[in-house]
């Protein structure tokens, strides 16, 4: 007989609260008039703040982090999970701040955006805390389903519909691949629990074709979701086609969840097959860095450019992951967290420049930004420098950390390849800076946006700079998460 | 001819038993079950025939007419005459229709309506198959019947037929949800999916049957049943005033007769199920007080209850005007489904708090679930 206490519900408090919040927002929103949508927004933000507080309650006694299980081992909480959950909740909250005016201008300021955003956030938190293939898969589907709907959210826009269709079809195939791989692993190990799978795999001797097959499928599924080449086709179209606020949502928090997925599925459960997935990841990483950086040069659409930049950054994250040791994982985690921050800043600037009936998603729309608003040009400068990996911004430290991890496993050539492609990448980042500072503005209209967005965007940009000046605190958390 | 004399009844019986024993096991099982199936089907088919007669008579009286009274004494042979007539009529197959599906559709409507009787208990233990998931089986089969209607409408290659089929499809899907939820209430009350157990849980007479604690569910279930069978006032799938006869407009002869049979078989089935789920099936309304052969438990109670609900179907038809299509949809989605969900919630609270019929002593008294 089992009792409710055995489920150990208290450590899943943030998730349960978030679910209740999303349902509450859904119901409250039904009874609001169109002019009262701000209530939905405020309620969501308030809820996210409470969620953050609840996550901070999870700190264990004596500063000793252990893996705490709940729901019969389907749910795990450790330092990694707590840190990543902080990150995703914060990122989503900032995306919500950025999105309000944009949605209002386009008459899509509806409660469903926040409801779907919150459900997607719940999916990410479930993925981050997954200790079981089932909960990982369900979290992923919860996230993906919310994202598909959010991409198509602006119904009048045919680009959005096309992007949603592509995303849905490819995402469904990827989920199928992942599931297929999981079922193979289940067939061989007889368990879906990540820890039990790891134990079972450790005891197996020799090559097992079924497991390799399952591993290949899982890696393909994961690469689809992360957007690594050659499974990247959906990224540019989806980034381009969806409303910019949704792009900023997709480009940030889900990457953190994707990182958690790689750690849980590959590092934690398939750890004894590290040699096998390392080889696959090297190919994925090199291809991603090459394709991402080279194709980005030819882009004139800012959102597409950032999409290809994302692909190249995913390559860098994979560099850290393929190292397969504590150093590599923490470097990849540092990279993921800081990259999402930069990406958020970049899309924040695009949202800032848009106004009613005008999408500032062409690269020429950045022309002469310095004349229009020196402060936000400076913010964009920090973000772009950081993406390019120029010190003293945080992007430099992130790149340095993953390269160091790769060099330490005696793969100097791989590090050199990475440096080579990031030098190519600098070209298009510098072009953005040239447009902002050395070209005359074609469009001299004033930038007007709400105070909360200005504050959030400034804080976003400055945090990229501050983390670059003082990277030690975040770095030590990342190292602690894997010790 | 000498050997004929040796064919005494004793000898024939002995020979038959010998022959029986000589058959392989699986054939014995098959033959036995076949016999039971025939024992259920033949009376059922007769019932179907005479329900049509009852319908015409009853509605006739309700409308101050006489109804059929020419064929045989008081019209008793009317259904037989109808059957003979339909059997000898030509089955016309429309051009450009899909012949296989066109002929398969009526069978597909009748099949599930008959197959559902496999799990109906006529008395304690008297049923063809004592399935553990009997309730689910019934639900699955009743949800199948709509295929016949849809395929008939589509394969007729006629716009009236397809309109009828589309109406029917949307209607059946809408009401199936409410019906399913109503049965969820029953299975929560009984704690079992087995039909025998569901009846056993209702032991104790008129007031301990499920109709009392589950009254909203009973109403939803029965009305949804009327809608599922496409009977008046929910018969827009036929809708003779606007789409001629809906999905079976192109059917004639025996193919039409099978649709007709299916409709009435479904009515009897829904009536029987209502009496099983909510009115204690073969239980006597007098509970344990009655030991008399007629007043005590017995199949006759089951038949009586079923007949009452069949009568309700006919009564509805004579009483209510047809619903408009959007009204049907509104009733199904916006009234019935919320009502069932609310009542399931109420019931869940009652079960957990052990109130009313779910009090500990009551459960213990009837043997519990």
């Amino acid at each position: 007989m089992m009792t409710l206490e055995m489920l150990n519900l208290s450590i899943a408090m943030p998730e349960m609260f978030l679910l209740a919040l999303a349902c509450t927002v859904l119901v409250v929103d039904v009874y609001l008039k169109d002019s009262q949508r701000n209530v939905t927004y405020m309620l969501s933000q308030l809820g996210l703040i409470i969620t953050l507080i609840l996550i901070s309650q999870q700190t264990p006694q004596n500063n000793e982090w252990t893996r705490e299980l709940a729901f019969n081992g389907l749910f795990v909480n450790d330092l990694l999970a707590t840190v990543l959950k902080y990150a995703v909740v914060l990122l989503v909250a900032i995306v919500f701040v950025y999105s309000r005016r944009y949605l209002q201008d386009r008459n899509i300021f509806k409660g469903e955006f926040y409801v779907l955003g919150l459900f997607g956030l719940l999916g990410m938190m479930v993925m981050i805390s997954a200790n079981h293939f089932l909960s990982m898969y369900l979290g992923l589907e919860l996230l993906s389903l919310s994202l598909y709907a959010m991409v198509a959210f602006d119904r009048e826009n045919p680009n959005a519909a096309e992007a949603a269709m592509k995303y849905f079809v490819l995402g469904a195939i990827a989920s199928g691949m992942l599931l297929y791989g999981m079922s193979m692993v289940y067939g061989m190990t007889g368990s879906l629990n990540i820890v039990e799978v790891a134990v079972a795999l450790d005891q197996m001797e020799g090559d097992n074709i079924v497991l390799i097959f399952g591993l290949v499928f899982m890696v393909i599924g994961i690469s689809f979701k992360l957007g690594a080449v050659p499974f990247h086709m959906w990224i540019p179209d989806v980034y381009h086609g969806s409303p910019t606020t949704v792009t900023s949502y997709i480009a940030t928090a889900p990457k953190v969840a994707g990182f958690a997925m790689v750690i849980r599925l590959l590092a934690e459960s398939m750890g004894s097959f590290q040699a096998d997935w390392q080889g696959m990841m090297i190919i994925l990483a090199v291809l991603s860095m090459a394709v991402g950086n080279v194709i980005a040069i030819a882009q004139t659409n800012l959102k597409r450019l950032l999409a290809y930049s994302t692909i190249s950054h995913v390559g860098f994250i994979m560099l850290g992951l393929l190292a397969g040791n504590q150093e590599g994982y923490s470097a990849a985690m540092f990279y993921t967290l800081t990259y999402t921050l930069m990406s958020l800043g970049g899309f924040g600037i695009i949202i800032l420049l848009t106004r009613k009936g005008f999408e500032a998603d062409n690269i020429n729309d950045l022309k002469g930004l310095n004349q229009r608003s020196p402060w936000f040009a400076f913010i964009m400068l920090i973000v772009v420098f950081s993406m390019a990996g120029v010190p003293p911004t945080v992007g430099f430290w992130a790149k340095l950390a993953v390269l160091k991890a790769v060099v330490n496993i005696d793969m100097l050539w791989l590090a050199l390849v990475a440096v080579f492609f990031s030098i190519i990448g600098i070209f298009y980042y510098l072009r953005i800076i040239k447009l902002m500072y050395f070209d005359d503005a074609e469009d001299k209209s004033e930038i007007n946006c709400t105070r909360d967005m200005q504050i959030a965007l400034s804080a976003n940009g400055l945090s990229v700079l501050m983390l670059g000046l003082y990277p030690a605190a975040l770095m030590s958390i990342c190292i602690a998460a894997f010790s | 001819m000498e050997w004929l004399l040796s064919l005494t009844p004793d000898f024939i019986l002995e020979f038959a038993l010998e022959f029986w024993g000589w058959l392989p096991m699986w054939l014995q099982v098959l033959a036995e079950n076949m016999l039971y199936i025939v024992m259920i089907m033949v009376p059922l088919m007769l019932c179907v025939a005479y329900v049509t007669y009852a319908e015409r008579k009853i509605i006739g009286y309700m409308q101050v007419r006489l109804g059929p009274n020419r064929v045989g004494p008081k019209g008793w042979l009317q259904p037989i005459a109808d059957a003979v007539k339909l059997m000898f009529k030509e089955v016309i197959i429309p051009t450009n229709s899909n012949k296989f599906l066109f002929l398969f559709a009526p069978i597909l409507t009748l099949g599930p309506a008959l197959a559902a009787w496999a799990v109906i208990p006529f008395f304690d233990g008297v049923q063809l198959s004592n399935l553990n998931a009997g309730l689910l089986y019934i639900l699955a089969l009743t949800s199948m019947g709509v295929y016949g209607v849809i395929i008939a409408g589509w394969s007729s290659n006629s716009k009236y037929a397809i309109l009828g089929a589309l109406r029917s499809a949307a209607q059946v899907v809408a009401y199936e949800i409410a019906m399913g939820f109503a049965l969820v209430g029953v299975l929560m009350a009984a704690g079992s999916l087995n039909l025998g157990d569901i009846i056993a849980r209702q032991a104790g007479g008129f007031t301990s049957w499920f109709w009392l604690p589950l009254f909203p569910l009973l109403a939803v279930y029965f009305i949804s049943g009327v809608a599922e069978t496409n009977r008046a006032p929910f018969d827009v799938a036929e809708g003779e005033s606007e789409i001629v006869a809906g999905f079976h407009v192109d059917y004639s002869g025996m193919a039409f007769a099978v649709f007709f049979l299916a409709e009435y078989a479904n009515i009897i089935l829904i009536a029987a199920l209502t009496s099983l789920m909510f009115f204690g099936g073969w239980m006597s309304p007098f509970g344990s007080m009655a030991d008399h052969a007629l007043l005590g438990d017995g199949t006759h109670w089951f038949i009586l209850k079923t007949m009452f609900f069949i009568y309700m179907f006919l009564w509805f038809r004579a009483t209510f005007p047809r619903y408009r299509y959007d009204q049907i949809m509104r009733l199904g989605w916006k009234v019935f489904i919320p009502v069932t969900i609310v009542w399931i919630f109420v019931e869940a609270v009652m079960v957990v708090m052990q109130w009313g019929p779910w009090a500990v002593e009551t459960v213990a008294a009837v043997g519990g679930a």
């Binding site: 389907l74 509806k110 | 998931a133 395929i151 059946v172 899907v173």
Partner: protein, 205 residues
């Protein structure tokens, strides 16, 4: 061959044939009907595994509801099959090559070598009092309650998403407000006019 095996092979053959029918039928309605047949065969195989709850639920949910809606939609679509098949021959060799590759891989991986009876013993048969429904329910609401709840959240999101993407308020559609209808009084609709009674005689003049 035991009776069990005969039934299994009969239904699995039916399932494969029906599945082939789904992809090869020329008419989309036939495809859907083949899919229904596939579900039936699958449900029969589940019954052989003593998973009667799953088997019946497959019929109830997929055949009884999902496929009905599928048929509903497919019947109303006006699909031009010849146009749909235009590119077929061009891509056929490529598709067939990939299919063969996949089949070979599958046989290598999921074949009897790795998943045969030597690797996995056949499950024990349960007695007549075994209730698959009860067992499933017990596991679903205890060990896997987290996954179960998550699945329900996914369904909720699916509902929200579907409504978000399709529901629009068109200002000029006509619809009923039943509450208003109920409030109608006789005097709102009916006007009784006093008229002089007329006779046939007066009409003639």
């Amino acid at each position: 061959m035991t009776f069990f095996e005969v039934v299994f092979y009969a239904f699995s053959t039916l399932m494969v044939v029906a599945a082939l029918g789904v992809v090869s039928a020329r008419n989309p309605v036939h495809s859907v009907l083949f899919l229904v047949l596939t579900f039936f065969a699958g449900s029969a195989i589940w019954l052989l595994l003593e998973a009667e709850f799953l088997a019946i639920t497959l019929v109830l949910v997929y055949v009884g509801a999902v496929m009905v809606l599928f048929l509903f939609v497919v019947m109303m679509l006006d699909i031009n099959i010849t146009r749909m098949r235009e590119g077929l021959m061009r891509y056929a060799p490529f598709g067939i090559a990939i299919a063969i590759l996949l089949i070979v891989q599958m046989i290598m991986v999921v074949g009897p070598e790795n998943f045969g009876l030597q690797a996995f013993a056949a499950p024990e048969l349960h007695g007549a009092d075994y209730s698959n429904t009860k067992e499933l329910g017990r596991v679903l609401y205890t060990d896997y309650v987290y996954a179960f709840e998550l699945a329900s959240v996914i369904l909720l999101v699916a509902i929200v998403a579907a409504i978000t993407l399709t529901m629009r308020r068109r200002p000029n559609t006509r619809h009923q407000i039943p509450g208003e209808q109920m409030k109608v009084m006789k005097q709102d609709r009916l006007r009784i006019v006093n008229m002089k009674s007329e006779t046939i005689d007066s009409e003639d003049k």
